[in-house]
Amino acid sequence: MSTIISLPDQSTATLPKRSYLNSEYGLKSWLLTLDHKRIGILYLIVTLFFFCIGGTMAALIRLNLLTPGGELVAADTYNKLFSIHGIIMVFFFLVPIAPAVLGNFLIPLMIGAKDVAFPRLNLLSWYLFVTGGCFELYAIIWGGMDTGWTFTTPLSTHYVNTHVVSAALGIFVAGFSSILTGVNFIVTIHRLRAPGMTWFRMPLFIWSYYATSILFVLATPVIAITLVLIVLERVIGIGVFDPAKGGDPLLFQHLFWFYSHPAVYVMILPGMGVISEVVACFSRKRVFGYTAVAFSSVAIAVFSFFVWAHHMFIMGISNYSALVFSLMTMLVAVPSAIKIFNWSSTMYKGSITFDTPMLYSFSFIGLFTIGGMTGVMLASLGMDIHLTETYFVVAHFHYVMVGGMVSAVMAGLHFWWPKITGRMYPEPLGRLAAAILFIGFNLTFFPQFIVGYLGMPRRYHSYPPEFQVLNVLSTAGASVLAIGYLLPAVYLLWSMKYGKIAGANPWQAPGLEWQVQSPPLTENFPEPPVVDFEAYDFEWLANHTKSEVQTVG
């Protein structure tokens, strides 16, 4: 049942005198900070920077595909464009943005800790990330790479002479940043929960970040060694993946996807955590089936290690093995579906308000469902032979990654923006941007399902003229989508200075992070909080508020 809460009026709120933002000033105080909140913001800045690069590449790709002949850029350049786009978006935007930005900022606040377990390690992982990014920038500026984000051998080891080595090293270094972040989060969640914050009182956000961290720790090292092998292959020709020397290129695929499939869940699980928070808050209800949602996060993390070869169905792996992997892939859709059902049930009979974060959550739920269902289509062996390496796959993963995860990131960013900055974004513009994003997204990527099903292969710079209509639609959609990203960028920046002051708890949410001032103090909680209520306990908040009002008034 949903609960109505009347908090004291937030419109008269003032900014607190002391907060993590004004405890120290100057560039140095940011670059040497050990405060998890500031590190989260450092990550935000860098990942958004990379998002701009990746976005520019995407725009060029779409522009080139406006005409069947691909007149804008040469075929070589086109290869570089989509490679840079993929590498940057996957490894330098989507993997870090949710864990390292929202996770860093929120995990300690949500579990009632003063900081993450290893603040120095946390800062180190930011520097590693930046170092990896520099390698990547070097590779891009000095001519780019054209292997695709998948570094397929022997293409990447023998046939291209672009900057594969520095690109691979960049990802290797940034990978260590993921690993350290994962280690940090797991230890934090295990060891720094406030008194009374039991496992089943934690917000579901924490559960999904816990699952994400497991993936970081166990999967990332495998791609690290794989990239080392690629580099060694290129530099001294050791031959582990080289058929001429007895190596097996398929082994590369196994190792690469052993990481990269779990990595796609790194790119969705945190989003699921955000959606749980937002849906509960704007339905004024406890998430339906808390335990099911919590365990489905862990189940997704575990299952995701058993499905990687669905990226290799047509590459010559054994048919029997393909059967096993196909089955496992369909199983992984089950915990994802559980979540969708539970969010829907949470909204059922809730008192829903349609604020911006909630709109983004709707967008997430719808688009992720489409993405997931097409994933199941791809997982069936017969379908996959027809659809693999076509735009259908491109549409599939953009539905989950952009439609799903980026929507979730936007939901989270808007939802916690008042906590991060202490100010509100302009609500009407927010809703408008959410709508534009949704429309633009579907316009861009739905045609790609069709054009892929009709047989347009991915990663080519030109295409048969009969596909032009759908491609033009897609490019048009991309421009709408771009507005959907630029608009929030503008008004969020604007709101940092001119936004309405938010007050501690503008959404009237019961999470611990909302019980402290916004923006929070450097030490988060002046006194260690004691948790004596369940997660999403709106009753508790209502009663608590009432008694507060009485004692204060």
Binding site: P8, G239, G246, P526
Partner: protein, 246 residues
């Protein structure tokens, strides 16, 4: 402004418990801090397992594919050197364990002695390994840089019963040596990192650190050192021993 009222309470909870100089502000007790960093170290070691895991997988697969080549390749390993190195590493693990013990019982002299011994043994290991690598270089067994299949297409005098490999299979000995250099190389890199940290630890211990009750660092380094030892415990049979007889 209820919640704000809570949050801006004056800070008194802070001075309540006396802080030890090693206790970071976000931990409640020193025990909690120690457990946390221990746990963190283990998680890091998990990533190391997976890191080596990729290479072990490659080894397993290629060994089955190119069995004769792997047998022939491993016959060029010097078993005495491998055995000696295994022994050296086990000794160093023991001295490391004793170093941690000395820190626990707060004996500075003993700590210094055991750490130096560990360092010494680490260097011995690396020395022997370097000697082996040097030999392999001389024998033209380094794939990519200088490799010749000559040794494998002729009968090896030490294994007169071995048949020479067909040129095709002899090429595949490169797979064996690639993996050999990869595995031992990455392992040696870990040893190098370990040795550098050891130098740092000895310096600190000499100044009196770790024997005052705060020894998380040295404990965690011990875990790392033992882990590197474990990797070698597997490398030794896989690379040197299991094909001795085929």
């Amino acid at each position: 402004m209820d919640s704000q009222a809570i949050a801006t309470l004056p800070e008194h909870g802070h001075a309540e418990h006396e802080h030890s100089p090693h206790l970071h502000h976000h931990f409640a007790t020193e025990d909690q801090q120690r457990e946390a960093s221990n746990f963190g170290m283990w998680l890091f070691l998990l990533t190391e397992i997976m890191f080596f895991g990729g290479m072990f997988t490659a080894y397993l697969i290629y060994r089955n594919w190119y069995y004769p080549a792997f047998v022939a390749g491993s016959h060029w390993m010097k078993i005495w050197a491998g055995t000696l190195n295994t022994t050296v590493l086990i000794c160093s693990s023991f001295t490391m364990a004793m170093a941690v013990y000395s820190a626990e019982t707060r004996k500075r002299k003993a700590l210094l002695r055991y750490l130096s011994l560990t360092l010494f043994l680490g260097f011995v290991f690396l020395g022997i390994k370097a000697y082996e690598w040097h030999n392999e270089w001389v024998e033209h067994h380094v794939p990519g840089l200088n490799f010749s299949i000559n040794d494998f297409t002729h009968v090896d005098p030490r294994y007169p019963l071995d048949k020479p490999l067909a040129p095709d299979m002899a090429e595949k000995t490169q797979s064996y040596f690639s993996l050999y250099f990869l595995l031992t190389g990455v392992h040696a890199l870990h040893m190098l990192v370990g040795v550098s940290i050891l130098l740092f630890l000895i310096f600190n211990a000499w100044k009196g650190a770790y024997t005052t009750g705060h020894m998380t660092f040295i404990e965690n380094f011990g875990l790392y050192w033992h882990f590197v030892d474990i990797i070698w415990i597997f490398l030794f049979p896989l690379l040197y021993l299991i094909s001795r007889h085929q």
